[in-house]
Amino acid sequence: MTESTVISTRPIPGHPHPYAFPAFERQALANGLTVVRCDLPGRPLVSATLVIRNGAADEPAEVAGATVLAARGLSEGTERFDAIALVEAAERLGASLHADAGWDASTAAVEVPATRLEPALELLAELVAQPTFPAAEVERLRDERLNDLLQARADPRRRVDEAFADAIYAPDSPYHRPAGGLRETVEPLDRSVLAETFRRGLDPARLTLIVGGDLDGLELIPVVERLFGGWIRSAEAAAAGPIVDRPAAGGARVRLVDRPGSVQTEIRVGHVGVPRAVPDYHAIAVLSAILGGLFNSRLNLKLREEKGYTYGAGAGFDFRRAAGPFSARAAVNTEVTAAALADLLAELERIREAPVTDAELSAARDFLVGVFPLRFETPGPVVGALGGLVVHDLPDDELVHFRERIEAVSAADILSSARRRIDVEGARIVLVGDAARVAGDLEGAGFGPLEVVRDDVLAGGPAGATPG
């Protein structure tokens, strides 16, 4: 190989081609339902999402899991069609019809070629307007959720996320439990609870239909008017109240869920974070990229590229309507658990101690700014981001200004956000691993009081009676 086979100097980029977040129009129907139309020429696969501003965080604790189950139950039958008829009708259109719920909202969505948008929207409207929640199907969905909870126990990643939420939030916060609910709250759920839960959010004023894709020649508004314009507010509709996001009081700093024989330890370190509506949102985005978002983030460089402790380490804030969690995370081989945890904590300290370097700052800002057009190449993510505006009550120009606000973030802003938003002393440390092999090291390393949780794998017994 001779010196001349490759070019030694890194190329200088040309000028970026212009890019702007796609324009969209917003229109309210007479009944209060909002329609957002985003024309994306050349994108024939249209994405349509009905956002219902009623999520798992809005449900009473005693029926935890009802919102998620109700959303999934939408496609189990309507006044005109049973579940199979619905799914077959969607498939004939080549449409994937999907309803689900998260903490902040429930959604019913469809992806379909533009030429078949109207019949697909008819199905979407049918699901949301006329669900019957058939008792037998609700029972099946409930049993599936109970079985899923059992399976989550056996999966170290799911187990640690569950244990982490349980450790950092107060018991009266919905974020303390999984959005899909717990065994004791899911077991009693039936069709009447689901119907009631769903109707609580069924107020056209809390509904937004977002349609993105190549809509050329499509008269969208009259179609939406016909399908959704007749809806009226359910008598049971209730406004969303405040969400409790209080941190847990007390408890040992380190919680280790024993998983005998585990070849890795799953690590989560963190605490209650911040809601989406914070003034330093953009500084936190850059901070998160530097700490644990980029491949060359401090955590990944240290734990993976320097030490080889893990396949990947990261950190970030989960932005919800109320304060979602901040967490740093990694799965490390059992032998290095205490050493990896010490390194991870040291990085959380370090980002609070001194400003990030100019190189770190520009790498993170340039990534977030540059990757923006890539993220929004196709209708699905555009519609998803517009849904985020709806859920978080953000202004229409939020995405338009995203890049310039990221550009404006300084090292001082990041230091200030790190000190304000990351609390190493108050962070809880939650692990799933082999206690016999790691508990001694953890204690010896002085991370703080340690409690060991031992799962009874048979607790509660299996779900789903044997049908003969």
Binding site: M1, G308, E377, V453, D456
Partner: protein, 437 residues
């Protein structure tokens, strides 16, 4: 409805590098995807996992790029990137704002030309540990995580290039030396063993000129060693069964079958058939096992295409608590047999075709996927134009072709059945939190 046609140029540089460029100016982005015609099937005994470990080394720097700078430079340019290794191939890709095309080309050319300049024991040891942790995260510490390795081992005999998994074994990873890395690089990484696809907001002539500038002086040097014999009988010849105890809550039954090679029209008929069998909530398996009989928590089935010898058709069902494992296995196998005994209905075919059409439309709308397909079709089939004929091929599959291939594949003497059962060790009695010291 029809898919937009992907128009592309297709040529070879003097050093053998195959270059494919497709313009698309809808968004100011460009995808670069380079496929090397080497995968885990090219590994020799004692060196399993090597193609993949090597892929990691490709991110550890080259003559003009320091360790970890490949990722850093692409991300700072607003790009996304990764590499993947599979049985038949290895690929590396970057998707960037279109004004950053040259950065990706420079980085790819530098490591293709000068990787060994930056190779060090320290970097090898570091990535060896990373890959071992990848194996632990993705397989060893995951419920049911050993299924793919076990199906491969049963379906492809000892010594067959598909017998072992891409991730390799801990022992072989431990044994990998700097000399192994250098040998592997010199053997497989050369412009005439690669396809470079560029898709997006670029001008073909300018892209070609850039590729020539960065790659043009790399030396052609491949004398590709003969690969192990990939041929094998289309049928396993016996039913193979294994019971696996694992740290799981619910039993799960995995099924594996030898299937026609990737690229064979019968493989496409199998893909359509398995869509009808298990693609979504309207499919036969979901409807019967999950919805009607309620004996399974979930169910899936899918083909995995390999170009040599035989592909794999695989599937699984998770057994609901209180249900006999045998009952689920019987129902699953009955549905497979039915697909080979009777033709699917017209309505099933219509629905499967509509879903496949939407899926193709969805996949091909992204420049990254188009670049991947073009490079794949050129590398594996020497036919990049397949990207424009695949939908037609799927839509042309008949009910009889589905029946025929299903009858040939889903035979008792062609199947592997893995039954995962919860470990029988006594569980601790209490669910308690106990303070330690």
């Amino acid at each position: 409805m029809s898919l937009p046609v992907v128009r592309f140029s297709d040529e070879r540089l003097a050093n053998g590098l195959r270059l494919i460029v497709a313009e698309d100016h809808l968004a100011p982005v460009v995808a670069v995807n380079i496929w090397y015609n080497v995968g885990s099937k090219n590994e020799v005994p004692g060196k399993t996992g090597f193609a993949h470990l090597f892929e990691h080394i490709m991110f550890q720097g080259s003559r003009h790029v320091a360790k970890s700078q490949h990722f850093a430079l692409v991300q700072a340019a607003g790009g996304t990137l990764n590499g993947t290794t599979w049985l038949d191939r290895t690929n590396y890709y970057e998707t960037l704002p279109s004004n950053q095309l040259e950065l990706a080309l420079w980085l790819e050319a530098d490591r293709l030309g000068t990787l060994l300049d930056a190779l060090s024991q320290e970097n090898l040891d570091n990535q060896r540990e990373v890959v071992k942790n990848e194996k632990r995260s993705s397989y060893d510490n995951r419920p049911y995580g050993s299924w793919a390795e076990k199906l491969q081992a049963h379906l492809y005999p000892e010594g067959h290039p598909y017998h072992h998994p891409t991730i390799g074994s801990m022992e072989d990873l431990d044994a990998a030396s700097l000399d192994d890395v250098a040998d592997f690089f010199r053997t497989w990484y050369a412009p005439d063993n690669a396809v470079l696809a560029i898709v997006g907001d670029v001008e073909t002539g300018l892209a070609r000129a850039s590729v020539k500038r960065y790659f043009g002086r790399l030396q052609r040097r491949t004398v590709v060693p003969p690969i192990g014999d990939l041929s094998l009988p289309p049928i396993l010849g016996e039913e193979r069964r294994e019971v696996v105890e694992d740290r799981v809550q619910l039993p799960r039954i995995f099924f594996g079958f030898r299937a026609p090679a990737f690229g064979d029209p019968r493989f496409e008929a199998l893909e359509v058939g398995m869509q009808i069998l298990a693609g979504g909530k309207g499919s036969r398996l979901h409807r019967r096992l999950v919805r009607d009989e309620r004996i399974a928590q979930d169910v899936t089935a899918f083909p995995l295409g390999f170009v040599g010898g035989a592909s794999m058709a695989a599937g699984w069902a998770t057994v609901r608590p209180g249900i006999a494992v045998e009952r689920v296995e019987t129902a699953f196998l009955e549905e497979l047999a039915r697909l080979g005994a009777e033709r699917v209905s017209d309505d099933e075919l219509v629905r499967a075709r509509a879903l496949i059409e939407t899926e193709e439309l969805g996949a091909l709308q992204r420049v990254e996927e188009r670049a991947d397909r073009l490079a794949m079709d050129a590398t594996l089939f020497d036919e990049p134009g397949r990207i424009n004929t695949m939908l037609e091929r799927y839509l042309g599959v008949s009910a009889e072709q589905i029946r025929e291939v299903s009858e040939a594949v889903f035979r008792p003497d062609n199947r592997v059945v893995l039954t995962y059962l919860p470990t029988t060790v006594a569980a601790p009695v209490a669910a308690t939190a106990e303070p330690v010291a």
